[in-house]
Symmetry: C2
Subunit: 298 residues, 2 copies
DNA sequence: ACGATTGATAGGTTTTCCCTATGGATCTCC
DNA sequence: GGAGATCCATAGGGAAAACCTATCAATCGT
């Protein structure tokens, strides 16, 4: 049995006429008759009563019409699904990220992606960078956003964006009166820092300070970046934070650019080299395009 | 999309090899490659990763494999159903019959038919002959078994069997001592009869008596033929009954043949001339064949 | 009764499909 | 490390199919 024969039969059955069905199928009438005959021969059953004046369905024909429609519908649905999967519009996407990145630019990136592929089931796994690498390797996640490129050979990294480092100080602090601050000026300040063991950003900041000739005096070390603004406002000192978190806090804290600016903190999209999912490829493609545009606009 | 392409793809996907799949399909490898390419082009999606060493499924290919199998299964199931309907092995069969005929030879006929077509849903509508004709005409039933041929022009009748008339008498009755009885001898007996208004058989018996030169003295008239044996045993008189019911009663009643025998009561298969159902045609064909054999054997 | 319409059939052409032969790439074995 | 084997892709020719036009037989409506 052939899908074409099914389509042809349905047309004849619906039109109750070979001639009309042939017209609908953009076909001449003789091959249509032949196909129906072939179908009947294969099924060993008459499907249509034909007189030279009208065409009627037999019981077998009625069944064939119903089943044929169901088959065509299923075929169409299968085509749609396969096409969607192939285009990366259906599937799952597991992302790894640290909280600070998630609350930063990643959120808007995810929103942009969701508009393009609303049927993709996205899950963000918020965890430390080292765990993210492991998750990528054991295929728990597809993509990670990490500051810095991991050394693993099976992973590919692409620059997502560069993040400026800014100084967060309490409103009353003497540096809050300045328009910009040099890094070396922070040598004498108390610093609130993230735990360098679990945060790439913390390590990056530390290296910047070392490059500027001092080791920051740590007044407080926290695990969760969200705690930093509260501590700054409470007068524990100053902190070097990614620019993106400046959006979220305002009242008691001032943000000041560092000039001359240290090398920007680079955030990378990391994924397996052998990644096959079109969802993942689509996401990466969209992300690079989207972030490229944004960079120019900003 | 074409069923052949689906079959071809499934073979390749299952074998994880074009060469092996081609062998399984009794096909050379090149056209197989071409069909898969055509399928991929139509779906706008790669379904397979091919290196010159191994073939793997993409996510879209996995989906295609699942959906393709489902499609083929549905197609096969549709073919089976249509074939069965066309062969009259699936469907419904509504029969009309009076109780006496149902309890007579019809029961064994239905049993024989059920063996041939166990999936056909049979329903017997037990009702008076006039209602059976109406049911046939308004397509409530497909076939009726009736004594005598109806006059309606849209109905066809075929002789099913001829039923001998036998005399039922109480064991102690003087006629019970006889080996055979002439119809005229019953002129002086009390008769238990069925209601002639609802029973063709009753009318037929009455005509036989009239032909023999007497009108039966009615001691009791009943509507349900099943009541007759009880009344005979209770001494209400004698009754002329179809031979077939002789099987069911024994103890208090004797059955004696009528000689010379009156014209046998003919039972007909009646059905619409324009009947299309293969189930009905099958049943009629089997019935005539089966009853023909039985008649010769009996 | 005659013209119009319907589905089936016949014959020829185009398209599709399949086969053999071959090429490029990778793996295996010596 | 190189030769042979194996795998999938491509090219070109021949066979099979699908389709078209023309025509026939039967039926309906005028």
């Amino acid at each position: 049995m052939d899908l074409r024969q099914v389509r042809y039969f349905i047309a004849v059955a619906e039109e109750r006429s070979f001639t009309a069905a042939a017209r609908r199928l953009n076909l001449s009438q003789p091959p249509l008759s032949q196909h129906i005959q072939a179908l009947e021969a294969e099924l060993g059953t008459q499907l249509l009563y034909r007189t030279s004046r009208k065409v009627e369905l037999t019981q077998a024909g009625e069944a064939m019409l119903l089943r044929g429609r169901a088959i065509l519908q299923q075929v169409k649905s299968a085509e749609d699904e396969v096409r969607s999967i192939g285009a990366g519009l259906i599937g799952t996407l597991d992302l790894g990220a640290t909280g600070s990145i998630l609350r930063g630019r990643l959120a808007e990136l995810l929103a942009a992606y969701r508009e393009v592929a609303p049927l993709v089931r996205m899950t963000v796994h918020e965890q430390a960078p080292a765990l993210q690498i492991a998750a990528l390797l054991n295929r728990t996640t597809n993509i990670s956003l990490i500051r810095g490129v991991p050394g693993e050979r099976d992973l590919t990294s692409k620059l997502a964006w560069r993040e400026e480092v800014v100084l967060a100080v309490p409103r009353g602090h003497h540096l809050a009166k300045r328009k910009r601050v040099a890094l070396a000026e922070l040598a004498s300040e108390d610093h609130v820092i993230l735990d360098p063991d679990s945060s790439d950003f913390a390590r990056y900041v530390q290296r910047c300070c070392v490059d500027a000739g001092f080791l920051p005096k740590v007044s407080q070390q926290v695990v969760d970046a969200q705690s930093i603004p509260s501590l700054i406002a409470a007068g524990f000192g100053v902190a070097l934070v990614p620019q993106s978190i400046a959006r979220f806090t305002t009242a008691d804290i001032a943000f000041r650019p560092i000039r001359p600016s240290p090398p920007a903190a680079d955030v990378f999209l990391v994924f397996r080299e052998d990644e096959t999912s079109m969802v993942v490829h689509n996401f990466i493609k969209l992300a690079l395009r989207y972030l490229g545009q944004r960079k120019k606009l900003g």
